[in-house]
Amino acid sequence: MDFLNAIVALSNFVLVPAIAYGSQLALGALGVTLIYGILRFSNFAHGDTMAFGAMIAVLVTWWLQSMGVGLGPLPTALLALPVAILGCMALVLITDRLVYHFYREQKAKPVILVIVSMGVMFIMNGLVRFIIGPNDQRFADGERFLISARDFKEMTGLREGLAIKTTQGLTVVVAVIAVALLFWFLNKTRTGKSMRAYSDNEDLALLSGINPERVVMYTWLIVAALATTAGVLYGLDKSFKPFVYFQLLLPIFASAIVGGLGNPLGAIAGGFIIAFSEVTITYAWKKVLTYVLPDALAPSGLVQLLSTDYKFAVSFVILLIVLLYKPTGLFKGKAV
């Protein structure tokens, strides 16, 4: 019985949150990795792209809520998601036309593009704050829990409860659908194949008649869709605050790099590696250990390896270790 309790406590506090967070990171990292693979630079504005997409979703959700439209148990934001994706697509396409296009023509060095993306980051950040303000916004509605802790306890008679939030379940489902669609697109469609060809070998792709501007446009469209989805899911799960999205940049980049920049499969693996290590290292293990260990060995402290405020340090240390031992990431990434 104690062993079951330990497993339930572990799932409740570690596994479920880490899977949800990992899915969000994976979606974010996929965007970063696609930009790196096709456009060949690290996009510092990615966090703010996520914030922009999520912001549109928040605004549309509020409008829908005021009209009395809803999805019942599911959050209204799901209805707003397609609109938000379209808005975000428009933004990144305009940005590409006005900003990045020029440097592509010039064949500018990647580091220049990184600095350019810093400028874009400032503008997007300003835009989001300008439109919705810098504060916390709540837009989640519908049923709060798939299973609440109390229901679970009544159902199983265990002492520990397992709570799964609707947003957590939704995150995983939506992420699986998005990733499946992405891989289908990259592997089966003509455009997807040309994207992969362009990423693998630019010259050869150009030689075989692939239109680079078309490839770049599709990349931005996909990235906008992924970023908005990640942003909305994160906002639903935690809350929407522009600055938090900027801070997500670090774990997202860590995920993409750990998996190998430019490698979509790596980005997903990286997202889960980072999420699981952040959660396990900052979790206070006392409860689980008390169930598992005999009474004599029961811990007196919290058995928390690091305080939650140091979660950045975790993603960072993993990043450093991977880079020092496997400079192109766990899955073979590319080096520009």
Binding site: F41, S42, V99, F102, P110, V111, I112, V114, I115, V116, M118, G119, V120, M121, F122, I123, M124, N125, G126, L127, R129, F130, I131, G133, P134, F246, Q247, L249, L250, F253, A254, I257, G301, L305, S307, D309, Y310, F312, A313, S315, F316, L319, L320, L323, L324, P327, A335, V336
Partner: protein
């Protein structure tokens, strides 16, 4: 127009803008802009050293600036009575044990043959060391933080003159930069960027959470100053007399006097560092740096030790940022870890360097003063602009209120726009490199 004339005119333009602030708003805000502009100029010199001279992409400026601020607390603040006896020594011991663990791990990695045994020994050292460290660290931290937590709760400083904290800030930042550079400098440019970004966040997290060090988010206030206090000046009859001789009331005169005192100190530091940076740029060492930046492979073929030179300039540039950070904390008179934001302390400095002209020290200084002026003044200008735009709208309409409230966020938009415009139309900056 010859180049020196153009550059002089640019500097005069910035000076004119600050004077204009003095005439139109108040002299206090004008000198405040000047002071922060001077500090920003020093940070920009540091970043220019790394990026402009050596092409190192460091986006962890915020961390080094914050370390400089920490140095002010550790050097100049009053010591907390009994803190060292209660747990301070234990904390230092714990930190040394932590460092010894890492050193041992590195030693094992280097000396033992590759294989499963090495892995096991490494894991044993790391886990054992970690728990040993926490075992010593935690009780001592609790003891220190228990001392008068409302007012102190930290180990306090050494009560030394605050000016000593400036070089100390540089040293602290240099030490951190050395550690970071040793591990991260071998990485490619955008990996280095992400690594430094992460390190800056970690440094801020440490400052926010380690209450025993500098009280965390409870802030350290009332740090000593290198200039007299306004209230003392106002109570000094000879000062009041001189002020009235100039036609100023004592309160204004004292605030101006104090701020100008800071300006003079900052200007001296800036000029010294600028002179040193110019000398370095012109020296064979500077030429070597630029050679490495332009073609690493060729420089290496000529027998230059690229990794060591990179480490050297990374440490130097970070130290300059640390000095600037210490100066800024001295100017504020308080250390508030919650206020360090990467947009303000890292990316804004980058905008300064790019706009001014990377690779040119005078460009960095000019860019810093100009961008800082904009950063401060965009807010009132934006507010005015919004009032003009919304003047036709009905009073009390939600859109009008929203637009006027949002004027404060014009800053980030403007900075992004300035950066993008400069990169597009004048990519070498206002004062290009020779």
């Amino acid at each position: 127009m010859s180049e020196p004339v153009k550059n002089t005119l640019l500097f005069l333009l910035v000076g004119g803008l600050i004077l204009l602030t003095g005439f139109m708003q108040s002299w206090n805000s004008a000198i405040l802009i000047l002071n922060m502009g001077l500090i920003s100029a020093i940070m920009a010199i540091g970043v220019n050293l790394q990026w402009g001279f050596a092409g190192l992409f460091n986006v962890g400026v915020m961390g080094f600036v914050a370390l400089g601020g920490l140095a002010v607390v550790l050097v100049a603040a009053a010591p907390t009575a009994g803190a060292w006896g209660a747990g301070g020594i234990g904390i230092v011991l714990a930190l040394l044990m932590g460092a010894a663990t890492v050193v041992a791990a590195v030693f094992v990695t280097k000396k033992m043959p590759k294989g499963r045994t090495r892995m096991l020994v490494l894991i044993a050292i790391m886990i054992g060391g970690f728990f040993l460290y926490r075992g010593v660290f935690d009780p001592n931290v609790a003891a220190v933080e228990a001392i008068n937590p409302a007012a102190a709760g930290n180990i306090g400083g050494l009560s030394l003159p605050v000016l000593l904290a400036w070089p100390a800030g540089g040293l602290l930042a240099a030490g951190a930069a050395w550690l970071i550079g040793k591990t991260a400098l071998g990485l490619r440019s955008d990996y280095l960027a992400i690594a430094t970004l992460g390190i800056a966040e970690i440094i801020i997290a440490v400052l926010k959470n380690e209450d025993w060090l500098a009280r965390g988010v409870k802030n350290v206030i009332g740090l000593p100053r290198p200039v007299p206090y306004e209230i003392d000046l106002q109570n000094d009859p000879s000062f009041v007399e001189r002020a009235s001789g100039l036609g100023l009331d004592p309160v204004t005169a004292s605030t101006l006097y104090v701020k100008l005192g800071y300006s003079v100190l900052f200007l001296i530091v800036l000029l010294v560092l600028l002179w040193m940076a110019q000398m370095a740029l012109k020296s064979p060492w500077g030429r070597m740096m630029r050679a490495i930046r332009d073609n690493e492979v060729a420089a290496e073929a000529m027998g230059k030790d690229v990794t060591r030179r990179h480490l050297q300039i990374f440490v130097l540039g970070s130290a300059i940022c640390g000095i600037a950070g210490a100066m800024m904390t001295t100017l504020d008179g308080q250390l508030t870890p919650g206020t360090y934001q990467p947009l303000r302390f890292t990316f804004l400095i980058w905008v300064m360097v790019i706009v001014g002209g990377s690779g040119n020290n005078f460009g960095a200084v000019l860019g810093a003063m100009l961008i800082w002026f904009l950063w401060v003044q965009v807010e009132p200008i934006g507010l005015w602009l919004m009032q003009v735009i919304t003047s036709g709208m009905a009073d009390g309409s939600a859109l009008k209120e929203h637009l006027i409230d949002s004027a404060a966020h014009m800053r980030l938009l403007t900075m992004g726009l300035v950066l993008l415009l400069v990169l597009r139309f004048s990519p070498r900056g206002l004062i290009p490199e020779h």
